[in-house]
């Protein structure tokens, strides 16, 4: 998990402990997976400890007139206890009761609700009211809670809620907190091409590339290809922003993973962007490939760089990361014919001195053997 997952877990833990995120910030160094175990364990223990009381209050709604139950929920229990008790109520009764409660109270209750404990209520909850609550929660910027709800919403409600979120930047932000990849996929598949382009533009305009790349990694190959195509159909300035965000935040592992499943032309458009002429960008990519052991993913996409891009990479690597060439060289024994031809053509674009330095850096490796045989018709310059 990542920093965002940690932030989401801390917020959820703070809610069950009835405190604020600042108070539990000392737990931030804990891995998000452990934080989740902790949060779920405390939640389970809290429910187990007070379940008898929750059930008694839940049964109260079966004895009392609904109007009084609604007044008790709103004015006596408040959103925290109402959220705990909701999961113990018969779903139809809870939905009937919710119809008598104001939107702001239900939104407050949503913040305290564990959606998994109330899934039967959520399954039968009226779609039009769910859309209203979506708008209330969005206006309050409760994206973490909204992401948590996405995991349990029925498809029809989920898609209606997605339609109600007009700003793609909000959709993107919420997607970061969704745990169920299938639900995320349903939303992306539901989006019109125009809204998919909106997601990409939002990512570029608001520096939300980590969100979109994480989303791409999690959805099905079909939705991923559609969204990636939307991204790569954008102008060069947008792609430049993506590449520079990847360099700045080390998004290369995710980007290479996504790229592996894209068609050659789509990958090539990205890899042949001018940003890859920037030595700082290339250095960042090379360092990430080496540090994260991304050789197979990189080797599979090497060819899409094109001969000029490959020549530029060899030039920068030779001058600034010669050890990278030695490691890359050892990986090239499984390269396909197109990749080999691309490398030889790139080698032909290098000046004599530079090619000698490249060969020295990867001496004794398959890469050196490939570069030693430039394709016919190329000349040193």
């Amino acid at each position: 998990m990542n920093d965002t997952a940690t932030r989401a877990e801390l917020e959820k833990l703070a809610r069950i402990l009835g405190t604020d995120t600042e108070t539990v910030q000392f737990l931030a160094p804990i891995d998000a997976t452990d934080l989740r175990t902790l949060r779920e364990g405390v939640t389970d223990a809290m429910f187990a400890r007070f379940r008898d009381s929750f059930r008694s209050f839940a049964r109260l709604s079966g004895i009392m007139p609904m109007a009084i139950s609604a007044r008790i929920a709103q004015h006596v229990l408040g959103p925290t206890l109402a959220a705990r008790i909701a999961g113990e109520m018969p779903p139809d009764k809870a939905i009937e009761l919710s119809a008598r409660l104001p939107d702001s109270f239900l939104a407050d209750t949503c913040l305290q609700l564990d959606p998994h404990r109330a899934d039967a209520i959520i399954a039968g909850f009226p779609i039009d009211r769910a859309v209203i609550l979506t708008r209330v929660l969005l206006a309050r910027n409760e994206t973490i809670v909204m992401g948590h709800f996405v995991d349990v919403l029925p498809t029809e409600t989920l898609l209606a809620a997605a339609d109600a979120i007009e700003d793609e930047a909000d959709l993107l932000h919420i997607s970061f907190f969704v745990e169920d990849n299938d639900q995320l996929d349903r939303v992306v598949a539901h989006l019109t091409p125009e809204r998919r382009r909106g997601l990409i533009r939002a990512a570029a305009a608001r520096d939300q590339w980590p969100e979109i790349i994480t989303t791409l990694q999690r959805i099905s190959p079909g939705s991923r290809a559609a969204l990636a195509r939307s991204a790569l159909a954008e102008d060069n300035a947008t792609l430049d922003s993506l590449i520079r965000a990847a360099a700045l935040r080390d998004l290369w592992p995710a980007l290479l993973g996504v790229g592996q499943n894209l068609e050659h032309a789509t990958r090539a458009r990205l890899l042949q962007q001018a940003a890859f002429n920037d030595p700082a960008v290339v250095r960042s990519a090379l360092d990430s490939i080496a540090a994260n052991d991304l050789w197979p993913a990189f080797a599979a996409q090497f060819e899409a760089l094109g001969e000029r891009g490959t020549a530029r990479l060899l030039q920068i690597a030779t001058r600034q990361r010669p050890e990278f060439l030695a490691r890359l060289g050892r990986q090239m024994d499984t390269a396909n014919e197109n990749a080999v031809n691309n490398l030889r053509a790139a080698g032909g674009l290098l000046g004599t001195n530079l090619r000698q330095r490249v060969l020295a850096a990867c001496d004794g490796t398959p890469l050196a053997r490939m570069l030693a045989q430039p394709p016919a018709g190329t000349t040193d310059s």
Binding site: L17, F26, L27, V42, I63, L81
Partner: protein
């Protein structure tokens, strides 16, 4: 409803046990305080709810909570 100690499962306990002594004490105090607050909220809610229960239903409601 007077005991404010929560029974945590083995996995949760293991996460807590990995913390430094100070952080562990701080977290355990937060958990205990949360349980105490929850108990007090429920006790107060029961008292307040009884005021809203129509008189003919009060005995039934009392039985519901007292078992």
């Amino acid at each position: 409803m007077s005991n404010d100690t929560l029974k945590l499962d083995h996995d949760t306990r293991a996460v807590i046990d990995k913390l430094t002594a100070d952080d562990r004490a701080r977290l355990e105090s937060l958990i205990q305080q949360a349980a105490k607050n929850e108990r007090q909220m429920l006790e107060q809610a029961l008292t307040d709810a009884m005021q809203m229960v129509p008189r003919p239903l009060r005995n039934r409601v009392r039985k519901l909570f007292l078992g």
